[in-house]
């Protein structure tokens, strides 16, 4: 392993600009003559718009334009789309209502976009927005996930009972039979709490229009600028793709929330032409709370059947998923194909049946948030398994070991074909790290101090590296999920790699360069990674679902193979040898069995000067592209163990220890991978202990700032003990599985299993706030007193 190659903890190339304040985020972009947009948002969760009077506002100082849904419609600007078609159990398509970028006749959640004011300054735009008179006829709101279906209030006429779809997966009859044969059935009612992604950089957009060329440019906080261009072009109708450039510069975190194509960026780029000026919008934090797509929000009843020996026989799950007021870009895929296919977890479960009701409510749209469906599935599986072990009187580690899948490949009853893994190895290592043997003593020590200590396990699996295009196409995806790469070798041997992946914290500029440095044997500083600009980079699919390593780097790998193959041809001419006799290793082309060789840079120069070969038989130049379409999902898996101590007097839960052992396949940069694990765990701990988006019965978001929505802070978290096991992924050339979401998927059930272990009963929901834990602890104490 070289100091900068695959497997090395290379310090990040991108860091210099961030630590010196030279990062360039969307809000840092300022175009000459730039104006500012302010969105007038609905104060009501549900209302008819009887009229909008903009007359007074239009005459206010600095106002350049005020636009409503009618203006968009007049310009034939289409609504926002949901790109994944889900079919109901009966085969009919899901029921989707229209999603205009600016409201047309009705508002459906607090924060819904009513009008936009463009003015010389932001303050002037806001002043004018306050002068717009909107006559609302308020309607009752439907807010609650569990009772949305059949509620009196209807969010969209297209879905008269608020049901977007009623979908299922698995073999119902086989599952019924498994339950009939069961010795023991565990039943749980679970709520997966609604979360707000809260990337620290709020969403922003700058729209620009070049009237001479007829070209629109949109700077936007996107995880996938090409997908944004595709949607804005082909579906929304801003401009043809060759007349629309989308740039996602430095992006300050995404976690899924910046995958989607939103109203604000659509309106900014469209309005730039309307007012003839660049138009900038940046969300303030409350706007982000109101209008970013939220995550999770499931209500589930789940059951697990086991036989007399404690073997798992079957699982059945009924989930209601809240998709909010409109279907966001990938909303429908999250509680379906990103959820139910993971319900087998790491276990050999012969029969699984899952039914999902997706509902409309008068709340912000819900879509993918770190893990997207997989945390929800893992929470169901790992709570069920933990509680089953407890009810059967079995050690939860042993019970897991007993039921783990041990032979690969393994076909689950819910689509997935797990290719490889060694779940027992991860569990063993995690037990060592956490010192499971010493737990009894630690529990006694805590008890002596009046505290309750508990341990919680989570054996998670996820399907990443999304995804084989044909497979997702057959499941309803509107796009293919391959990735692209172009490797441009310059005449002196430096390299630019253009990737369709997008980095917003993942460190691609480093890890992708490590791959190139490793494969081409050139210094890492000679490699630049280019991403995030549709004018520079060929079509690509972007970064989400832990796919950039497994899919994005595989595309680069493929392109590098082509570069090396072409280099061999060039070298053969230069070294006057047969192409078949040329080897490439350690940055040199050499002739087998001789000491004749050509370094990579010289080869590049020869490729461009083209003096040594005939242009008819070999093209000059050294530049290759590749599209990589995976052949299977990848299956990162691991075991996280959390140990907590609860103060029953205050209800405060402290995480005392955290052991994470993950199998991500081969690792390019362990430092970056561990960082991804840390961040994922923090978000999962946030879900388990701290975070929860709360709407009141009127549909007002009562957690709309950091004053009310609890973000994990440094003193809420411990340091994490991270270990790894490796079974290389067999389906991609680098053996990578992906690591971006694992922590967020693994951690919530680990925390809740630890708390319930400490409490001695299962009656606690997420987030397990001090108040909730205090109340649950009182229950434990009164139960103990009664016994």
């Amino acid at each position: 392993m070289s100091a900068t190659g695959i497997g090395a903890a290379v310090r990040r190339k991108e860091d210099h600009r961030f630590i010196t304040g030279q990062g360039r985020y969307t809000d840092d972009v300022n175009r000459p003559g730039q104006a500012y947009a302010y969105f007038l948002r609905s104060p009501h969760a549900h209302a008819k718009i009887k009229s909008i009077d903009t007359k007074a506002a239009a005459g206010m100082p600095g106002v350049l334009g005020i636009f409503t849904g009618a203006d968009l419609a007049a310009d034939k600007i289409g609504g926002l789309i949901c790109g994944w078609m889900i079919h109901n159990k009966d085969g009919s398509p899901m029921r989707a209502g229209p999603h205009p970028a600016l409201a047309q006749g009705k508002v459906r959640y607090v924060g819904d976009h009513v009008a936009v004011v463009v003015a010389e300054t932001l303050a002037q735009a806001r002043d004018a927005a306050e002068a717009i008179a909107v006559d609302y006829q308020e309607l009752p709101a439907v807010v609650d996930t569990a009772t949305a279906i059949g509620a009196k209030t209807v969010v969209h006429d297209e879905a008269p009972d608020n049901s977007v779809f009623n979908w299922h997966l698995g073999d119902k009859d086989a599952t019924e039979k498994a339950f009939q044969a069961a010795r023991h059935v565990t039943k749980l009612d679970l709520v997966n709490n609604r979360l707000v992604p809260n990337a620290m950089e709020p969403r922003a957009a700058v729209g620009d229009y070049d009237a001479g060329e007829g070209i629109f440019t949109l700077y936007t906080t996107s995880q996938n600028p090409h997908v944004a261009r595709l949607v804005l072009s082909a579906f929304i109708g801003i401009a043809p793709e060759n007349k629309l450039r989308v740039i996602a510069p430095d992006v300050g975190g995404g976690f899924g929330s910046k995958i989607f194509i939103y109203a604000e960026e659509t309106v900014c780029v469209w309005a730039a032409k309307k007012v003839g000026r660049p138009v900038k919008w940046t969300a303030d934090r409350t706007e982000a709370f109101l209008s970013d797509a939220h995550g999770r929000d499931h209500v589930t009843h789940a059951e697990l059947a086991t036989d007399a020996e404690g073997r798992i026989l079957g699982m059945r799950v009924k989930t209601t998923a809240n998709l909010g007021a409109y279907l966001s870009t990938f909303a429908s895929s999250v509680p379906t194909y990103l959820y139910a296919p993971l319900l087998s977890g790491q276990y050999d479960i012969p029969a699984i049946y899952c039914e999902v009701d997706a509902v409309y409510t008068n709340t912000a749209p819900v879509d993918a948030y770190r893990g997207a469906g997989r945390p929800e599935a893992t929470f169901v599986v790992e709570r069920l398994v933990e509680v089953t072990a407890r009810q059967l009187g079995k050690d939860p580690a042993k019970f897991r070991m007993q039921n783990y899948i041990k032979k690969f490949p393994h076909q689950t009853p819910v689509i997935m074909m797990y290719d490889t893994g060694n779940y027992g190895a991860s569990l063993k290592k995690a037990l060592e790290i956490i010192d499971y043997k010493g737990l009894g003593k630690r529990k006694r020590d805590s008890a002596r101090n009046g505290k309750l200590r508990g341990i919680g396990f989570s054996s998670y699996i996820e399907a990443c590296g999304i995804a084989p295009s044909a497979a997702v196409g057959s499941l309803g995806a509107g796009v293919g999920l391959w990735e692209s790469a172009e490797v441009r070798v310059n005449p002196i041997g430096t390299v630019e790699v253009l990737t369709g992946s997008h980095s917003h914290g993942q460190g691609h500029e480093t890890t992708f360069a490590q791959l190139v440095s490793d494969r081409l044997g050139i210094p890492i500083d000679n490699v630049s990674i280019v991403h995030g600009d549709t004018d520079k980079v060929q079509m690509g699919m972007g970064t989400y679902g832990s796919r950039s390593g497994a899919v994005g780097m595989s595309a680069i790998f493929k392109a590098l193979d082509k570069v090396i193959a072409k280099g061999k041809k060039v070298a053969a001419h230069v070294l006057e040898a047969d192409e078949a006799d040329i080897d490439f290793a350690d940055g040199h082309f050499s002739v087998k069995g001789t000491d004749r060789k050509l370094d990579f840079g010289s080869c590049a120069l020869q490729a461009y000067v083209a003096h040594k070969f005939n242009g008819q038989e070999l093209e000059p130049g050294l530049k290759e592209g590749a599209f990589y379409d995976p052949t299977n999902f990848t299956f990162p898996a691991g075991v996280h163990i959390c140990e907590v101590e609860i103060d029953p007097d205050t209800g405060v839960t402290r995480i005392e220890r955290w052991a994470a052992v993950d199998d991500f396949g081969n690792v390019i940069n362990p430092m970056i991978v561990e960082g991804q694990v840390h961040g994922g765990i923090a978000q999962g701990v946030g879900q388990a202990l701290l975070e929860g988006a709360r709407y009141n019965a009127d549909g007002q978001l009562v957690t709309a700032s950091f004053m009310d929505y609890t973000m994990p802070r440094a003193d809420d978290l411990p340091s994490f003990d991270v270990g790894m096991t490796v079974t290389p992924c067999p389906s991609n050339p680098l053996g990578i599985k992906g690591c971006g979401e694992a922590g967020a998927i693994a951690s919530p059930p680990a925390v809740i299993n630890a708390i319930t272990d400490a409490l001695g009963h299962e009656d606690i929901a997420m987030p397990a706030t001090p108040q909730a834990v205090w109340r649950a602890a009182q229950k434990s104490i009164s139960r103990q007193a009664a016994e």
Binding site: T650, G651, R694, T703, M707, D708, T769, P770, Q771, W774
Partner: protein, 267 residues
């Protein structure tokens, strides 16, 4: 923010004159409540009178049996003050627990007291220590000064100049932070001066800071955490929100009171 005119007097007297002249003017101290409110357009003063240059409003001195703190003294200055640390360590501790380090560099005792946020820390200290709020017009006891949620006895044109804290023999402060905002969800300040015991509670009361007479009586017998064992505050009059309902807050009052006494007694 809405537009306003900006004024920066160099003395409390000048500030008072400006305040009297401008309709709907507001005083700007550290600004850590007022500016966020103005950013949200929930406040729209026509003029701001910035007290930042009023040297006569700053400083900490021990005057006889009192620690006197100028209104524009920041939380960090109180927390780090050798005078306060020696005279009333619990007050220095409280100041050092407000907000975060950066907020403490700007936020002031005068601003905090004048705002009387029900989740602020200082009101508990003022009430428990029997402090006097000195304004450009008069002197008020803490009981007289704090009149309700975000309400004080301050009249139009009146400016807090300093707060005077009489020395006590023992004092302690404990708070349970709101998990999101980190303001006091429940904060209890206990103080003992001779045989007089005061227990003041912030963060919890529907009407803002208040005293807990039952705890004071219990501690009078013996000033020790154990004296409060089994003593529960009623949930009546205690506020509730998504983070803590009245019952839980009431429970925490007892827990924090015991911790505060433990701190005061070094146990």
């Amino acid at each position: 923010m809405y537009a306003f005119t900006y004024h920066k007097p160099t003395s409390a007297r000048q500030a008072a004159t400006l305040l009297a002249k401008k309709d709907d003017a507001k005083l700007l101290a550290g600004g850590h409540t007022l500016l966020p409110t103005m950013k949200q357009r929930l406040a729209s003063p026509s003029a701001l009178v910035d007290l930042g240059a009023c040297a006569d409003l700053k400083g900490i001195v021990l005057k006889g049996r009192n620690v006197v703190i100028g209104a524009m003294t920041t939380h960090a200055e109180v927390a780090d003050s050798a005078v306060v640390q020696a005279a009333i360590p619990a007050l220095a501790y409280l100041a050092g627990s407000i907000g975060d380090p950066h907020v403490r560099h700007r936020g002031t005792i005068g601003g905090s007291v004048a705002n009387n946020d029900p989740a602020a820390d200082y009101p508990a200290a003022l009430l428990a220590l029997g402090a006097t709020v000195v304004t450009n017009k008069r002197k008020l006891t803490a009981e007289e000064f704090f009149t309700g949620l975000y309400e004080t006895a301050l009249e139009e044109g009146e400016i807090i100049t300093k707060v005077s804290f009489p020395l006590v023999s023992k004092a302690g402060y404990a708070k349970f932070r709101n998990p999101a905002s980190r303001y006091a969800m429940v904060g209890v300040f206990v103080a003992k001066r001779g045989s007089e015991i005061r227990v003041a509670v912030t963060g919890a009361g529907e009407g803002g800071v208040f005293r807990w007479p039952e705890a004071e009586a219990a501690l009078k017998a013996r000033f020790a955490p154990k004296s409060l064992d089994g003593l529960k505050h009623t949930a009546k009059g205690i506020n509730g929100d998504i983070h803590a309902d009245a019952e839980y807050r009431a429970h925490l009052i007892g827990v924090m009171a015991r911790q505060a006494v433990a701190q005061a007694t070094g146990k």
